[in-house]
């Protein structure tokens, strides 16, 4: 019987450590997982800086996770099945939930309301688990959740125009780019990204660098950066009648030019998580894993995660960091 697990612990005073967490024993409707890989998301970094959104302390963050079922008392999953974790924990009884989990008015997330993926074992409700296609590598499957987010964002944009400007080429920006060109390989994607390693990745994957010396407005601008003025910058750079897709979470309240939005007939679209895209993302990863391999640029062991997270602001990764558990 597994009673404890190694886990990354975030205390309320925002100190991070590797410690042990007690595991409850799974009951019918739950499964015990041996987690294999977890992804580090920008929102994890936000929580580490601020403590926002956490319900119980110490927290174990990480909502992009893949693992193998070790025990499933209700028999919903065969032991040994590789599963991806659905990060959303909706309340289930609000008006939003009748439409989609990501529209829940009290939506919570794995890692904030229940312990997340930065631990070796987890007990989760089976409703949060999706069986992986057979043969899908765990190291690729860990991208399913953020890819679902990117797919949802692109779905929210509607019909894609010929040209797209992507502001910010962190992991979610890179996945949005990948999803746009997966659907329409010939779309002209321009990227505005100050980090040279991230820009190098964007160019390698077929994007072009946005040249500020030749400013031009684009029909679709994706804000995947989340800095203080990134939404305002996106509004400046979108064509009249165009769409700004806000994917990154701004870290502070922002002021918008309401008059400009009205007079220029702009669409400002937010996107929270994903709706029904998770199985579609898993299928896309399974169909062409090599397409997504370059997006994972760094991998650390759980025992090294505290050290890596502590210097992440001064040494941001080129792409997605994944954690081997």
């Amino acid at each position: 019987m597994i009673t404890h697990t190694d886990a990354l612990l975030l205390e309320q005073d925002l100190t991070l450590s590797l410690g042990q967490r007690e595991l409850t024993q799974p009951v019918a409707g739950q499964a015990l997982l041996r987690l294999e890989w977890a992804g580090v998301c920008g929102s994890d970094l936000h929580v580490i800086r601020t403590g926002d959104w956490v319900n119980t302390w110490p927290a174990t963050l990480g909502h992009e996770a893949v693992g193998v079922v070790l025990d499933c008392p209700g028999g919903e999953f065969v032991v040994g099945t590789r599963v991806v974790v659905d990060s959303r924990v909706p309340c289930g009884d609000c008006h939003g939930c009748t439409q989609s989990a990501n529209l829940c008015e009290r939506l919570a997330w794995v890692g904030e309301i229940v312990p997340g993926g930065f631990e070796r074992h987890a007990v989760l409700d089976v409703a949060l688990l999706h069986a992986c296609p057979e043969g899908l590598e765990a190291e690729i499957a860990v991208l399913a959740e953020p890819l679902a987010v990117a797919m949802h964002a692109v779905n929210r944009a509607g019909r894609l125009p010929e040209s797209v400007l992507l502001i910010g080429y962190g992991p979610i920006g890179a996945l949005v780019h990948s999803e746009i060109t997966r659907r329409s390989p010939h779309i002209n994607v321009l990227v505005r990204e100050p980090n040279p390693m991230r820009l190098e990745l964007a160019l390698a994957l077929g994007a072009r660098s946005y040249e500020p010396s030749h400013p031009m407005r684009m029909p679709l601008v994706v804000d995947a950066a989340g800095y203080a003025t990134s939404v305002a910058d996106s509004i400046d750079l979108v064509s009249n009648g165009g769409t700004v897709l806000v994917v990154a979470i701004p870290h502070q309240p922002i002021t918008l030019d309401g008059q400009g939005i009205v007079e220029r007939s702009l669409n400002i679209i937010g996107c929270n998580g994903f709706a029904d895209e998770l199985p579609i993302a898993m299928a896309a990863l399974d169909a062409n894993p090599d397409r997504y391999r370059p997006l994972i640029t760094e991998a650390v062991l759980l025992e090294d995660l505290v050290a890596r997270l502590s210097d992440i602001a001064s040494r941001p990764p080129a792409g997605k960091i994944v954690v081997r558990l």
Binding site: E137, M197, R293, P294, R324
Partner: protein, 359 residues
């Protein structure tokens, strides 16, 4: 055995058999045994191969590809020869410059194909032992007196140690002008930025120099088999004359053109390898395991393959035994994809704690 069989058998007596790196026991990404590119070729290469598949009935025409590559390299087409992998070039060089009664100089250990083609030519083969993983350039220059060809892989395979530009200049001044120096740069793109020799300057100064490169490593076209030589027209011309016509096939030409047309992919891919190499070497430092600081896409590590094998098997990984490469007691680890390297580091830590005195 028949007389004809005896004749053939005599030619290969003593020739070592080339053994490719073993596949991993897990996913394909776990193969760290053949110095392959972990991310593969850029998306434009697949598109080009699909397009080339429409014309299999036509003989390949390498003129456009040669023109493009020569322009990229800043050389004339008369200085450039495309070959079916850089291994074909080894055979051509041996056929052209080596024969019974002539001498070939190699490091010890050396790249296996250099040794094979030298022995097959019937030339006398002089092996100069490496010193701490590096070529003993003074001893090699001395051995090159009366030699016809000298093979100089840099970065060296399997040690990963590279010769600097300054060392090369001094060395080439010592080597007789009638001895061909084959500078094999299969791994040069992975060298630390700014440390790769200035080949154009060397070629201008030393007409007996031939630079050998492959598209298998940083350009990730190992399966297509394409390499090339850069040298003076007086060397390229005769080599070209003995190269079988059409030896570089249409797919290889299409793949090469597409790859060269997307340099950003190669730059990104090389950057990832350098990061992975730095991470692995830092881990080996931390574990106190001996290795040669590498300028290639692999690291030679002083661990016996048989001792590490159970840990690799459990992790679904394969690396190359040094015994295959003239370095028994060592392993050569190809730098792989980031998650694969994390898995490898986990295996190395488990091994190191279980066998603390290794290395």
């Amino acid at each position: 055995m028949t007389a004809i069989g005896d004749l053939a058998a005599r030619r290969v007596v003593g020739l070592p058999t080339y053994r490719p790196g073993k596949p991993s026991t897990g996913s394909a990404a776990g193969k760290l045994s053949s110095n392959e590119s972990p991310l593969g070729a850029g998306p434009s290469v697949s598109d080009a191969l699909r397009a080339a598949a429409g014309h299999p009935h036509r003989y390949p025409d390498d003129s456009a590809t040669r023109h493009r590559l020569a322009a990229e390299l800043g050389v004339t087409q008369s200085q450039l020869l495309l070959t079916n992998g850089s291994d074909e070039l080894c055979y051509l060089i041996a056929q052209m410059f080596l024969a019974p009664g002539k001498r070939a100089v190699l490091g010890d250990p050396c790249y296996a194909i250099d040794n094979t083609v030298s022995l097959l030519s019937g030339a006398d083969v002089v092996r100069v032992p490496l010193v701490r993983g590096a070529h003993d350039l003074r001893a090699m220059a001395a051995a090159a007196i009366d030699a016809s060809a000298l093979w100089l892989p840099s970065p060296h395979n399997p040690t990963g140690v590279a010769v600097s530009h300054g060392e090369l200049v001094l060395f080439l001044r010592e080597v007789p002008a009638d001895c061909l120096v084959v500078l094999d740069q299969a791994y040069h793109a992975f060298s630390s930025p700014g440390t790769s020799p200035d080949v154009a300057a060397l070629l201008a100064q030393f007409p007996n120099l031939l630079v050998q490169r492959t598209m298998s490593k940083d350009w990730a076209l190992a399966g297509l088999r394409v390499g090339y030589a850069i040298a003076a027209p007086e060397i390229i011309g005769p080599l070209s004359a003995i190269r079988p016509p059409f030896s570089v096939n249409s797919f290889a030409l299409a793949g090469l053109s597409a790859a060269v047309g997307q340099p950003a992919w190669q730059a990104m891919s090389v950057a990832r390898v350098r990061e992975g190499r730095a991470l692995l070497q830092a881990e080996l430092d931390s574990l106190g395991v001996e290795y040669y600081p590498s300028e290639a896409n692999f690291v030679l590590v002083h661990i016996d393959h048989s001792e590490l094998a159970p840990y690799l098997l459990e992790a679904g990984l394969s690396v190359r035994s040094g015994a295959d490469l003239g370095m028994p007691g060592w392993i050569r680890i190809t730098i792989g994809w980031a998650p694969t390297m994390a898995t490898l580091i986990d295996a190395l830590r488990k091994f190191s704690s279980a066998v603390p005195n290794n290395g």
